[in-house]
């Protein structure tokens, strides 16, 4: 799903239940066989997940492009490989550009080529029908964990980017030198300000970035300023 989906508001009690399910995980199933969609729907609903089913890749893309507000929570895609109109591998290619959601491919036949192509293109797993429920649930759980971690990483990055934007030019210069291992005195000599002022900038920058220790600060500077 887009990196920052618009959060959906809880209005009714059923919204509340759905939000709870979504918090556990939202599973999007795409398959051209309605019976399979129903069966997977039963399974994931029973397991306490939110499950959305789509009968074709274009149907899924249409809904995706509407960018509907969503309840927060991890998400994964479960997609059949052989479908009319657009097959699973083609959908994977189209999604690859702007999509981080883990993709699990399922196939009716053990096509080794398809499996290799799909896995190379970044699919989380490739399952052969008929799929053992235990195995399916395990893969889905793994996919949701991956997505949850991904969402956390993205949130953290977004948060830090916002904090870094509040730094002044001077604070930034001081931080860069701190990360390089210079002492406060060296920095003061370097950019021709009082050592006390260096300490002040350093203090303020760490407060703005919300870090308490030097190693933490160094890691963020390494990651974002350089």
């Amino acid at each position: 799903m887009p990196d920052n989906p618009r959060p959906r508001q809880i209005v009714t009690t059923s919204d509340q239940a759905l939000a709870a399910r979504c918090a556990r995980g939202r599973i999007l199933v795409i398959d051209d066989d309605a019976e399979i969609l129903t069966a997977f729907g039963f399974l994931f609903t029973l397991e306490g997940y939110a499950c959305e089913t789509y009968s074709s890749a274009p149907a899924f893309l249409a809904v995706l492009h509407e960018n509907r507000p969503q309840f927060p929570g991890p998400c994964c895609l479960l997609c059949d490989v052989s479908m009319p109109e657009m097959d699973g591998l083609e959908l994977q290619r189209q999604l690859a550009q702007d999509e981080n959601t883990p993709l699990i491919l399922i196939s009716g036949s053990s096509g080794a080529e398809e499996a290799v192509t799909g896995l190379h293109a970044g699919a989380l797993d490739f399952l052969i029908k008929p799929i053992e429920t235990e195995a399916l649930l395990a893969v889905v759980a793994r996919a949701l964990a991956v997505d949850r971690q991904g969402q956390l990483d993205r949130m953290r990055r977004a948060n830090l980017t916002a904090r870094l934007a509040t730094l002044t030019e001077r604070e930034r210069a001081v931080l860069r030198r701190v990360a390089q291992g210079q002492t406060n005195y060296e920095i003061s000599q370097d950019i021709a300000i009082a050592e006390r002022t260096v300490k002040l900038y350093r203090q303020r920058a760490m407060e703005k970035l919300g870090v308490a220790t030097l190693p933490e600060l160094v890691r963020i500077v390494d990651e974002f300023i350089y």
Partner: protein, 474 residues
């Protein structure tokens, strides 16, 4: 001299006539399916030679028009006909107008010479010259025939006519030199030699011709045999192609069938397993039967899926999953699977008790498939009879595990017995004819055999023999 030329020529003439008629009698029947023109020309030529020779012999007895003109013309015509006969064999016949024109020209020239000259010298020279020339033509064509068809008979003909041609040349030159008279009805060595040459030629030319005809018929028979062999080969090839086509068709069919069947199987499996998960975690007495039934659904769905996978494996050969397995336990399991089907057809499955422990190396699914095929066939075979029993027995025969399935059905007809197990051979209106062929392939892949015979006390007897593993303590 002790011989009489007149008698000699008369005999030669008669011999020619007899041989001509006999040759026709023999060869016209044998060559019933071929054009007889060549043979007719040859035998006709023989008849004319015969008549001509008799007329020569009767000089002084019959009018000169017969003994001179007719005799010479007939001799010329006979040589022309024999040439034509050989050319027909070669497939390069002379055009008939030219042939007739040649005969007419000879007749006219000879008659004119005879009418307008006083002595017999000029017509004699002309006629003998022409005979010699015509004989050489026969030699030429016979030689070509011999070379072309590798026919020994044609060389005999060429030789005989060469002898005649030499005789004519010798006679011509001896008359020209005034050594002898033109008349041949003498008692001299000259006439004797001519008669001798005629005798040799009549015998050898006709034997030669007979040889050509026989060689021809042998060649025809060989050609016919070759043609038939080709036709049979074509037939066999086309059958193989049809079979390959059907196999390919089946391959495609089963690939798509596998995919199509996997979809509903996936839905069934997921639904059943979901239902299982929705049951209370602690199995209460109330839920136990449901759980059991759902377990069966799951198990059978998995089996169905494995069978599909195996069938596709046959089309796209893959290594089988070999593992040591207890054959004596596998068989009752499979029998249980088919029991409902048997009951529906009022067939009693009798599993002989006290089966010895048998271990074999194999793929349980594929071996089950054999037994299911065999049992299904037996159940179907029993549809037409009153007593419907199938006996299933296991035994250990010196390192081999033997499974015997015997039914009380009508058994196999001789025709069925000859072809049973061939791919796509079926006695069922709706069958594909793959069942037994597939089963035999599986058995062979396991180093075993699957045979079908009629039991001594009626009914079909299927015997599966597999190499057994030693039954150890484990």
């Amino acid at each position: 001299m002790i011989f009489d030329a007149r008698t000699g020529f008369l005999s030669i003439g008669l011999l020619n006539l007899i041989i001509a008629v006999a040759l026709w009698g023999v060869l016209s029947r044998q060559r019933a399916n071929q054009p007889l023109t060549g043979l007719a020309f040859w035998c006709g030529g023989g008849l004319f030679v015969g008549v001509s020779t008799i007329l020569f012999a009767l000089r002084g007895v019959v009018p000169e028009l017969l003994s001179f003109t007719a005799a010479n013309v007939l001799m010329f015509v006979a040589l022309a006909m024999r040439t034509q006969s050989l050319r027909l064999e070669l497939g390069e016949p002379e055009s008939y107008p030219r042939l007739l024109l040649g005969m007419l020209a000879f007749t006219v020239v000879y008659e004119c010479l005879r009418q307008f000259t006083v002595d017999n010298q000029l017509p004699f020279h002309f006629a003998v010259l022409m005979f010699g020339f015509m004989s050489l033509r026969v030699v030429g064509w016979a030689w070509r025939l011999g070379r072309r068809q590798g026919s020994l008979g044609a060389f005999w003909i060429a030789g005989a006519y060469a002898l005649l041609a030499i005789t004519y040349v010798w006679r011509l030159s001896s008359v020209a030199l005034g050594l002898v008279e033109t008349t041949i009805l003498t008692r001299e060595i000259n006439a004797f030699f001519l008669i001798f040459a005629a005798l040799i030629s009549v015998i050898f030319t006709n034997i030669g011709y007979l040889g050509i005809a026989l060689e021809q018929s042998i060649r025809d028979k060989l050609a016919a045999a070759a043609a038939q062999a080709r036709a049979e080969e074509n037939q066999r090839l086309s059958e193989q192609l049809t079979q390959l086509d059907r196999q390919r068709c089946l391959g495609t069919m089963s690939a798509s069938l596998g995919h199509e069947l996997n979809q509903p199987l996936t839905a069934i499996l997921t639904n059943a397993q979901t239902a299982l998960r929705s049951l209370p975690r602690t199995p209460s007495d109330a839920a136990a039967p449901t759980r059991d039934m759902l377990d069966r659904i799951v198990h059978n769905t998995q089996r169905a899926s494995q069978i599909i996978e195996r069938i596709r494996g046959f089309i796209r050969p893959r290594t089988t999953q070999c593992e040591p397995l207890a054959f004596d336990q596998l068989v009752p399991e499979v029998v249980k699977l088919i029991a409902a089907e048997a009951r529906a057809q009022r067939v009693t499955l009798i599993l002989e008790p006290n089966a010895p422990p048998l271990r074999v190396m194999g793929d349980p699914i594929q071996l089950s498939q054999i037994l299911i095929n065999v049992l299904r066939n037996a159940i179907e075979a029993l549809a037409t009879v009153e007593r419907r029993d199938i006996r299933i027995g296991l035994s250990d025969a010196g390192g081999r595990a033997i499974l015997r399935v015997q039914d009380t059905g009508p058994g196999l007809t001789p025709e069925t017995r000859a072809r049973v197990g061939e791919p796509f051979f079926t006695t069922k209106a709706t069958g594909l004819g793959m069942g037994l062929s597939l089963s035999q392939t599986i058995a062979e892949q396991h180093g075993g055999t699957l045979t079908i015979t009629n039991a001594a006390d009626g009914g079909a007897l299927v015997e599966l023999s597999l190499p057994a593993l030693p039954v150890d303590a484990g």
